[in-house]
């Protein structure tokens, strides 16, 4: 099966006054149709940049991308327009991702109007359909975003992403700004839509519990690099990379009796500008050694389970 999306050595760098910012630094991905890849990491790890680069909202600095087998690393505007009908994005902030001067209906159907391929009747039909699909009551059709709360606004964002019936959606922290009970509603909606339409998601989040719930496979990022990647169950059952271990142990568990053995990291995240070669987690890792200063290779330690750590086998007695 050709993966719906593949990237090889994808890099995105930004030029800053202090030097070159390595936001995304050599990511290899391969996602099958209908599955969700969860991309997890803390601030500065590059996950949002990765999502935007895949969609050509940012241009890749190096590396290649393939969509359904076709190379999309460099695309002409016309090709990009066509591509966008298959690849869409849901943004994190339900407040700033909607034009405050457009009504709900206008926001939902704008993609259809821009594409120019639909008649007025078709657009009207779609409008009603989209409202229903995302669970927005019809009476909100002519409301403005500021009149609705975060959960409903996020539904508008989801509806907009679905308008062109894409196969592939990048979800950039879509529930991080929402309350817990609304979060659950939206997550259920996304899962239902995936099942009904065979959608493929790249689900970007910092919340490990959310990512476990919704992803089939998970990739953990740190300062622009992949540190560990595995199917969801496998990652939580067998965690090998020191950073992933620390990340998992840091999550407060809502259980009166269970406590994680907490691994507290020392120090703070280092700068992604002009990073030293070698493992970027070096300064905070409890297992750091001399070899870690060399560029790390990606190893497969179990079926579908990859890590980037020279000490992993030793630490985990593999």
């Amino acid at each position: 099966m050709t993966p719906i999306l593949e990237t090889k050595n994808l890099k995105k760098y930004f030029k800053t006054k202090k030097g070159m910012l390595h936001a995304v630094d050599g990511i290899d991905l391969s996602i099958q149709r209908g599955r969700t890849l969860g991309v997890v990491g803390e601030s500065g790890c590059g996950k949002s940049t990765l999502g935007r680069t895949i969609l050509h909202l940012l241009e890749p600095t190096e590396g290649s991308m393939r969509f359904n087998g076709k190379d999309i690393t460099k695309v002409s505007p016309k090709e990009l327009a066509q591509l966008r009908e298959h690849m869409q994005i849901i943004f994190q902030d339900p407040f700033s991702s909607l034009n405050p001067r457009m009504t709900v209906s206008e926001i939902l159907v704008e993609p259809l109007i821009i594409s120019g391929k639909f008649t007025r009747e078709e657009i009207e039909k779609k409008r009603v359909e989209l409202l229903d699909t995302v669970g927005l009551p019809k009476r909100y059709a002519n409301s403005y975003p500021h009149e609705l709360d975060g959960g409903r606004r996020q539904r508008i964002g989801i509806g907009r992403a679905l308008a062109l019936e894409p196969d592939f959606i990048v979800c950039d922290e879509p529930v991080s700004a929402l309350d817990v009970s609304i979060q659950a509603q939206i997550l259920n909606l996304l899962q239902d839509l995936q099942e009904q339409r065979g959608l493929t998601y790249v689900f970007i989040t910092h919340d490990l519990s959310v990512v476990k719930h919704i992803s089939h496979d998970i990739m953990v990022m740190y300062l622009g690099q992949m540190v560990e990647q595995a199917p969801s169950e496998e990652l939580f059952a067998h965690t090998y990379h020191p950073y992933t271990k620390a990340l998992l142990s840091a999550i407060p568990v809502p259980n009166a009796h269970k406590r994680m053995q907490r691994i507290l990291l020392k120090g703070e995240i280092t700068s992604p500008v002009n990073p030293a070669p070698g493992c970027r987690f070096y300064s905070r890792c409890p297992y750091a050694c001399e070899e870690c200063k060399n560029p790390q290779r990606i190893e497969q330690v179990a079926p579908g389970h990859f890590i980037s750590c020279c000490q992993a086998r030793k630490i985990n007695n593999l």
Binding site: R52, L80, R84, N99, G135, P137, L164
Partner: protein, 302 residues
């Protein structure tokens, strides 16, 4: 995955405690807030009165503004001449009324010129950013380093006396404020996620600018325009005061002030009434502008 669960998420019931839907656009909301502001209402009323006055000037004014009457020069305000007469026996009241046309014209036209030049300038700088922005902004810096009033006077002198030249001078001088304002506004809107969202659904630059950026960037400009009408009226009156701008016998308020200056001791009314007219009209626009700013300010929104 059972059916009930699917329905539970897609067709959830609205609770009875939900907000009652008020389908108000931001415009209506802004207007509602504006009308709560007493100062703004006062300003608006005065402006409306001025507009009525200048439309029906011929009907309201008891005398022709240029009608001279040598038998009634320097008359104090009386029942016959509500605001007295000037050195040529012309009725001051009638001149003030007709003069409102000139002041409004100067204020609005010069603002229109300033806003047009400024918006084009600022939009280009704000939208394209980078080197284009740098060059344009440095030019603006140089432009603004020349003191405004002096520049305006010099420009008016070069163009020659006359109302229209004064309007052009004031307009060109004032454009930098608009340029900076719209540039800042556009730069802020440009960084909003909904602009990125528009790109993600294939919107082209033109559509993004017209449909997404400008409607959202225009609010601060509305306030600024309203407030600067007052400033432009004042600047134009100043030009007339020094002899550039409106030429006699035009009853421009600034010119009237200038003419009445020498007789200020004995015939104070010659200076008080034009002065008050200028003051009231500028104040009215400022009050309206203040009210608009408060009404449009999202931070005051609950």
């Amino acid at each position: 995955m059972s059916r009930e669960n699917k329905n539970a998420t897609l067709n959830f019931q609205e609770t009875s405690g939900d907000v009652e839907l008020k389908r108000t656009s931001q415009f209506k909301e802004t207007m509602k807030r504006l009308f709560k502001n007493k100062g703004a209402i006062v300003g608006l009323v005065v402006i409306v009165l001025m507009i009525i006055m200048l439309i029906f000037a011929e009907q309201i004014a008891p005398y022709d503004y240029s009608a001279q009457d040598y038998t009634a020069i320097y008359q104090k305000p009386s029942a016959q001449h509500l605001m007295g007469t000037d050195e040529l026996g012309r009725d001051v009241f009638s001149r003030i009324i007709v003069g409102s046309r000139l002041s409004m014209r100067m204020g609005l036209c010069s603002v229109a010129i300033a806003a047009t030049i400024g918006i084009i300038f600022g939009s280009i700088a704000g939208y394209y950013g980078g080197a284009v922005d740098n060059v344009l902004m440095r030019f603006l810096d140089i432009y603004q380093s020349i003191p405004g009033t002096i520049f305006c006077v010099a420009l008016a002198a070069v163009l020659g006396p006359g109302l229209n030249n004064a309007i052009i001078a004031v307009g060109v001088t004032s454009m930098s404020g608009y340029a900076r304002m719209i540039r800042a506004s556009i730069m802020q809107v440009r960084s909003m996620e909904y602009i990125e969202a528009a790109r993600s659904i294939n919107a082209k630059d033109g559509r993004i600018l017209l449909r997404h950026i400008i409607p959202n960037a225009i609010s601060p400009l509305i306030v600024y325009i309203t407030m600067s009408i007052g400033g432009c009226i004042l600047l134009a009156a100043s030009l007339s005061f020094i002899g550039l701008g409106a030429q006699p016998p035009l009853p421009e308020w600034g010119a009237m002030l200038s003419a009445g200056r020498s007789k200020m001791r004995d015939c104070g009314y010659l200076v008080i009434f034009p002065g008050m007219a200028i003051m009231i009209s500028v104040l009215a626009f400022n009050l309206l502008g203040d009210g608009l700013r408060d009404a449009l300010d999202p931070r005051l929104r609950n």
